[in-house]
Each structure stands twice: as structure tokens, then as C-alpha cells.
């Protein structure tokens, strides 16, 4: 299958042309955030405080890498389960994020938001953290350092493989998978 190359910051026209099932290689900057970082962002917004990092236009990668050993850019760095961050989707789109990378299903509300905000949800390859670490060219913590692996890391990616899981039309690869077999 063909892989499409995409670059960050991701352009609206690129998002518009992505279809559920498309294989993509991402090059450029993404920011990691998982459960705790989302919770912190929510708390800062609730108390009208400034966020430690600008998220407008960014791609969020749900990942908590393992520590990098000396001489290596990154430790193992695959995606974590996205659905745990579903409750934060509205907040994150409001701040201006354009895409999320994770793994697994999203709830219907998030799917509607993806359509409304003309965003895209990518799945990367769960349990391929060693392979994916090689697609990371630099990694540094830029916010919430005390959270360790759950801190916000800025990653510079090169040809990082993902699958378009939910496109701006709301088409969902996971639903297609079971429907094709006459499942649920």
C-alpha cells in the first residue's frame, strides 16, 4: 500500500484530503500528552492561567515514552489508548489542536468534534515502541516536567507511520473493520 507523506504544521487542505484507512508518514513537530497532562491543562484553563505551551495548530501524540538510555534520542515511544482522553477532546479542539495520534476507538462525541473542527484522528502502531523510537529525531520535555514520562514532550518526527483512523467526514476505520465481516 502507498504511504502518503505529511508535514507539520498540518495544513487544512491536507486534512481535507485524508480518508479513513490512508497510511501516512508524518515529519515534523508533535507534542506528547496523556492523562495527567490533559488534567493539568484543564486545571490551568479553569483557573484562567496561561498554558506553559502554545497548542494552537499542533498535533497531540498520546504517548508516555520510556526513559531514553544514554546515546539514544528516545526510549520506546508507541501510542497509548486514546479513549481515556475523550473527555478532553472539546477542550483540546477549542485550544486549536488539529490532529491527535493514539491508538484505539474514540467516543461518538469526539467523532462529531473531529467533523465540526475539521480535524483528524490518526492511529499509530500500539506495541511498536522500539520501532517508532527510530522515527523520532529529537525529544525534549517542554512542560510539566514533574510528570516524568507523562510530561509534555516536543518530538521531532521523521516518516513516523500512522493510519488515518477517523477522517473529517467522520468515517471510522474500526467500524469499517467489523462491518465488513457482518459483525456488530
Amino acid at each position: 500500500m502507498e504511504w502518503k507523506r505529511i508535514y507539520t504544521p498540518i495544513d487544512d487542505n491536507v486534512i481535507k484530503n485524508l480518508r479513513c484507512g490512508d497510511l501516512c508518514l508524518i515529519t515534523g513537530r508533535v507534542l506528547t500528552a496523556r492523562d495527567k497532562a490533559h488534567e493539568r491543562i484543564e486545571q490551568l484553563i479553569a483557573s484562567n492561567e496561561k498554558l506553559p505551551v502554545e497548542l494552537n495548530g499542533e498535533i497531540i501524540y498520546y504517548s508516555g515514552p520510556s526513559p531514553a538510555k544514554p546515546g539514544f534520542v528516545s526510549g520506546s515511544a508507541g501510542p497509548t489508548t486514546s479513549s481515556r482522553m475523550d473527555t478532553y477532546s472539546k477542550m483540546m479542539f477549542n485550544i486549536g489542536i488539529k490532529a491527535m495520534i493514539g491508538k484505539g476507538k474514540r467516543d461518538n462525541f469526539t467523532k462529531e468534534l473531529i467533523k465540526e473542527y475539521k480535524a483528524v484522528y490518526f492511529s499509530s502502531f500500539g506495541g511498536a515502541g522500539a520501532y517508532l523510537s527510530r522515527k523520532i529525531k529529537s525529544s525534549k520535555i517542554i512542560a510539566f516536567e514533574d510528570l516524568g514520562s507523562e510530561a509534555i514532550h516536543e518530538l521531532i518526527l521523521e516518516d513516523f507511520p500512522v493510519v488515518t483512523a477517523i477522517d473529517i467526514y467522520g468515517e471510522d476505520i474500526y467500524e469499517h473493520a467489523v462491518q465488513r465481516y457482518g459483525g456488530i
Partner: protein, 281 residues
């Protein structure tokens, strides 16, 4: 005959297993991935199986963890009743060994000290230890690393003793479909049938300790494993849920006697990365 085992020896064995299973996969698993790829019809699914194969190669070459979720450390100790353990308190020794290994090997620490207050212990301890007293003078140490994503898809249901086998397999299929991509398929599915609710749950995990290509020795349960395996692989979920023919890599049942009124069935889903190892002292 009595045997004395010092906890230093136990600690060394635990560290050895943890290192081995975070960075390597056994040959039979590599072979299993090749077999799955050769019969996979989904295109994104085939790419996925290829990436997972290369993932193992890179992990082994560079000693990078197979997965960034280096897991909860689940330890099963089968302690022969003719074994005398000397040295530290056994559970302290286990936790010291886990903590040292996770620190020394640059493994992710994923344990919160308290389920509601959520502060990370920073050591990946405590390990979750299950100890059984068995006959003989050996100590068998089985270790599994369990990622949070697949553990979260666990399920248990109390059936009626008169419920049909079909009703049970329906439940299993529905649970696997509902979990979908989240446990990182192709999954290794552990099933505990019988016992009490807690015994069934524990057996669903113990079932995963079996040699990956081995069936239940009882032909009745072997046939049921094959039946469940075939049903799950017809759901279409496929590798990483992208659609395909390989949703389950293996199905393992561990059965237990049950109360005349009870028929618990518990499921423990393990991701495609079956990280487990055994040492016998």
C-alpha cells in the same frame, strides 16, 4: 529432600527474566507473527504485522523496550513445600529486584501508589505477587509484564450452571468486539472458567502462562479453545483493529471446579506482545 534458596538467587532470576522479556521475544512468537502475516488479507493489517516484526528486531538489537508500557510486573511464585527461603523477606526481595531492574534498564515506571490519589511510586513497584504452595523442592518463578491498555479490557460474568457453551462463547466474542482495537490485537486471550469470581479472574491470567503454541491438555477444552479462536478471527477486527483476519493469536482456557450454583467466566486480554518468562530454581 529439603532445599534452601537464598533470596539473592531469587532476585537475580527476577532481574534476568525482566530484562529478557522487555527486550526480546521467543522464536515461537516470531514464527507465529510470520504465520499470521502469510494468511492476512487486510492491507493495513499486513503493514502492521510487518512493523511489529521489525519492532522485535529493533528491540533486541538496541535493547529498547518492545513497548513503552513496560507493564505491571505480575509474579507467580510456585513454592515447593520442601523449600526453605533464607535472606530477606521474600516479597521485599522481589520488589527490590523489580525496582533495581526498572531503574537500571531504563524501563518506564507505571505504578501509582494509590488508586485514587495517583502518585507514581517511581520504582514500578509493588509487583503484583501471587504465591502458591506446591509439592516438591523447587521454586518456580513466572513473570508477566501486563500493559494497562490490554488489562483495562478484562471482563468477568457469572453464568448460570445451565447456560449453554454457545452463550459463553457469545459473551467472549462480544467482549473481544467491544474491546476492538484497544488491547492491541492480535491478542492472546486468557479465559478462566469455573471456580469463584476471583479464582476465575486469576485463572484467566494464569492461562496465559502456557507455552504459546500449546492447547489445553483436555480434548474438550482444546476443542473449545479452537472454536473460540475461529470465532474471534471472524470478527474482522484484525491487527490493531484496522480490519483483518488475525484478531487472536492464541486462546487459552484454564478451568476450575465450581459451586453447583455458579459458573464464572473471566477474560484477560493480552496484547500481541506476550511478555512472559519462567525460571525454575
Amino acid at each position: 529432600m529439603k532445599k534452601t534458596i537464598h533470596t539473592d538467587e531469587i532476585k537475580k532470576s527476577i532481574a534476568e527474566i525482566i530484562e529478557n522479556i522487555n527486550f526480546t521475544a521467543p522464536d515461537e512468537i516470531k514464527k507465529l507473527f510470520q504465520d499470521m502475516k502469510s494468511r492476512e488479507s487486510g492491507s493495513a493489517a499486513r503493514e502492521t504485522l510487518q512493523i511489529l516484526t521489525e519492532n522485535i528486531e529493533i528491540a533486541e538489537k538496541d535493547s529498547i523496550p518492545l513497548c513503552q508500557d513496560c507493564g505491571s510486573v505480575i509474579i507467580f511464585l510456585s513454592i515447593g513445600q520442601d523449600v526453605e527461603i533464607t535472606g530477606e523477606y521474600l516479597y521485599d526481595a522481589v520488589n527490590h529486584s523489580v525496582s533495581d531492574a526498572y531503574n537500571r534498564l531504563y524501563l518506564r515506571k507505571s505504578i501509582a501508589a494509590d488508586p485514587l490519589r495517583r502518585k507514581n511510586t517511581g520504582t514500578n513497584t509493588p509487583a503484583f505477587i501471587h504465591a502458591d504452595i506446591v509439592s516438591g523442592n523447587s521454586l518456580i518463578i513466572d513473570i508477566m509484564l501486563k500493559g494497562g491498555g490490554s488489562e483495562n479490557m478484562s471482563a468477568v460474568k457469572m453464568f448460570l450452571p445451565t447456560d449453554s457453551e454457545d452463550k459463553i462463547t457469545d459473551f467472549i466474542e462480544e467482549a473481544v468486539i467491544s474491546a476492538g482495537p484497544n488491547p492491541c490485537p492480535p491478542i492472546f486471550l486468557g479465559i478462566g472458567i469455573g471456580g469463584t469470581a476471583d479464582v476465575a479472574m486469576l485463572n484467566s491470567k494464569k492461562a496465559l502462562l502456557r507455552y504459546p503454541l500449546e492447547h489445553n491438555p483436555d480434548p474438550f477444552y482444546r476443542d473449545l479453545e479452537i472454536k473460540i479462536f475461529n470465532r474471534i478471527n471472524k470478527t474482522g477486527i484484525g491487527p490493531m483493529g484496522f480490519g483483518g483476519d488475525n484478531t487472536a493469536a492464541g486462546v487459552y482456557i484454564k478451568e476450575a471446579p465450581a459451586h453447583i450454583a455458579s459458573l464464572p467466566v473471566a477474560l484477560n486480554l493480552n496484547c500481541h506482545s506476550l511478555r512472559k518468562g519462567r525460571i525454575i530454581l
